[in-house]
C-alpha cells in the first residue's frame, strides 16, 4: 500500500502556488512588525504577568488586529498587544474530506501544543489553529526564526492535508477494488 504521495493535490496547480508566496510574504512582514514585544506585568493583579491579548481587559495595551484574507475561507488574523501576539490561521478546506482531515490534524497538533511552545491549546473562534507568542518566547528565541517557523507551518499544513487527502482516496480505491474482487468469478 502506498503510504504517502508527495507534492500538491491534483486539483490545485499553478494558480495556487503563485498567490501563496505573496500571501506568506505579507504575513511575514506583518508579523515582523507585530512581534515587537516587551515585558509588561499585569496592571490589575499584583505580581502577575499575563499575555494582554488573552486578557483583553485594558484597551490601551491592545493594538489594532490585522486580518489578511486570501479568501473568506483562508485567512490569517494577527492580534498584537504590548507583551503578546496571537496569530490565528484558518486553513483552506475545499470539501468535506479536507474539513474532516483538517479538524483531526489540528486537534492532534493542539493536543501536543506544549511541544510546539508557541501553539495555543485551543484555536480562536472561527479559525483552525492559533499561536500565542509572548515576550518570554522572544527573549529565548530568535524573532526571525520564529516567524520562519510560523510561515513554514502555514505552507506545510496545506501540503500535509493535500497529501493526506490523496492517501485517503488511494487507500479507499485499493480497498474497494479488493472487496469487489470477491464478487467477480
Amino acid at each position: 500500500q502506498p503510504r504517502r504521495v508527495q507534492g500538491w493535490g491534483v486539483t490545485e496547480g499553478e494558480s495556487m502556488a503563485s498567490t501563496l508566496r505573496p500571501y506568506l510574504n505579507c504575513v511575514r512582514s506583518t508579523l515582523d512588525a507585530a512581534l515587537c514585544l516587551r515585558n509588561f506585568p499585569s496592571q490589575t493583579v499584583e505580581r502577575h504577568n499575563k499575555p494582554e491579548v488573552e486578557v483583553g481587559g485594558s484597551k490601551e495595551l491592545l493594538l489594532n488586529p490585522i486580518l489578511i484574507c486570501r479568501t473568506e475561507k483562508e485567512r490569517c488574523l494577527i492580534e498584537p498587544s504590548v507583551n503578546s501576539v496571537r496569530v490565528s490561521i484558518e486553513i483552506k478546506q475545499a470539501d468535506d474530506i479536507e474539513e474532516v482531515l483538517c479538524h483531526k490534524f489540528t486537534r492532534f497538533l493542539m493536543q501536543r501544543a506544549d511541544q510546539f511552545i508557541i501553539m495555543r491549546r485551543k484555536a480562536t473562534e472561527g479559525y483552525s489553529i492559533s499561536f500565542l507568542v509572548t515576550h518570554a518566547h522572544l527573549e529565548k528565541m530568535w524573532k526571525e526564526k520564529l516567524i520562519d517557523f510560523v510561515i513554514q507551518f502555514m505552507e506545510d499544513i496545506d501540503k500535509e492535508i493535500s497529501a493526506m487527502k490523496l492517501a485517503v482516496n488511494a487507500r479507499a480505491r485499493i480497498v474497494a477494488t479488493e472487496f469487489m474482487k470477491e464478487f467477480v468469478s
Binding site: S29, T71, E72
Partner: protein, 159 residues
C-alpha cells in the same frame, strides 16, 4: 521621517456627504484614466476621527475602486507618483483594510458548490491585487508603516 508630516493630514470630522462627493470626483477621474490623480483624491480627508462605521466603509470603497482600476503592472509606477510620504502610510492602512474584506461576499451556505468556487476565485484575484499593492507600498514605508497601521488609534479600519 519626522513627526511634522502628520500635521499635513487634515483631521476634519468626516460625514457621508464629504465621502460621497469624493467618490463622485474619483469616479470622474477614473473615467478619464487618470489613476494617479484618482488615488491622491481618494486619500484626501480620511475619516480618521469618525466613529461612524458606515462613513469609514464608504471611504474604503472609494479607495478600493481605485485599487481595482489600476492594472497590476502599473502599481509600482502609480505608487512612485505619490510624492507625499504621509500618503504612503495612509495607503498602507487602506491596503490592510482591503486585505481584511474579501470581495465579492460569499453566497449563503446553501448555495451550489460551483457558485461558491466561482466567488472564491474572484476573491483570490482581489487578494492577489491587494497583496501586490501591499508589497510595493511596504517597500516604500518600511516596517514602520505596518507598525503604525497596528498602533495608530485613529485609523481608517472599521471595527
Amino acid at each position: 521621517v519626522t513627526r511634522g508630516f502628520r500635521r499635513s493630514l487634515p483631521m476634519a470630522a468626516e460625514d457621508m456627504a464629504c465621502v460621497s462627493a469624493r467618490a463622485a470626483e474619483v469616479d470622474g477621474l477614473l473615467a478619464q484614466k487618470k489613476a494617479l490623480d484618482a488615488l491622491i483624491k481618494s486619500l484626501e480627508q480620511p475619516p480618521l476621527s469618525s466613529k461612524d462605521q458606515a462613513v469609514k466603509k464608504a471611504s474604503q470603497e472609494v479607495v478600493f475602486k481605485v485599487f481595482a482600476a489600476v492594472e497590476d503592472k502599473d502599481i509600482t509606477a502609480t505608487t512612485d507618483g505619490l510624492q507625499d510620504i504621509s500618503l504612503h502610510e495612509l495607503l498602507l492602512k487602506y491596503v490592510y483594510a482591503g486585505l481584511a474584506s474579501p470581495r465579492p461576499p460569499l453566497p449563503p451556505g446553501d448555495a451550489k458548490q460551483s457558485d461558491i468556487d466561482a466567488v472564491l476565485q474572484i476573491q483570490r484575484k482581489w487578494s492577489a491585487t491587494m497583496l501586490k499593492w501591499h508589497s510595493v507600498i511596504l517597500a516604500k514605508t518600511g516596517p514602520g508603516g505596518a507598525v503604525r497601521a497596528m498602533a495608530d488609534r485613529k485609523t481608517v479600519l472599521t471595527n
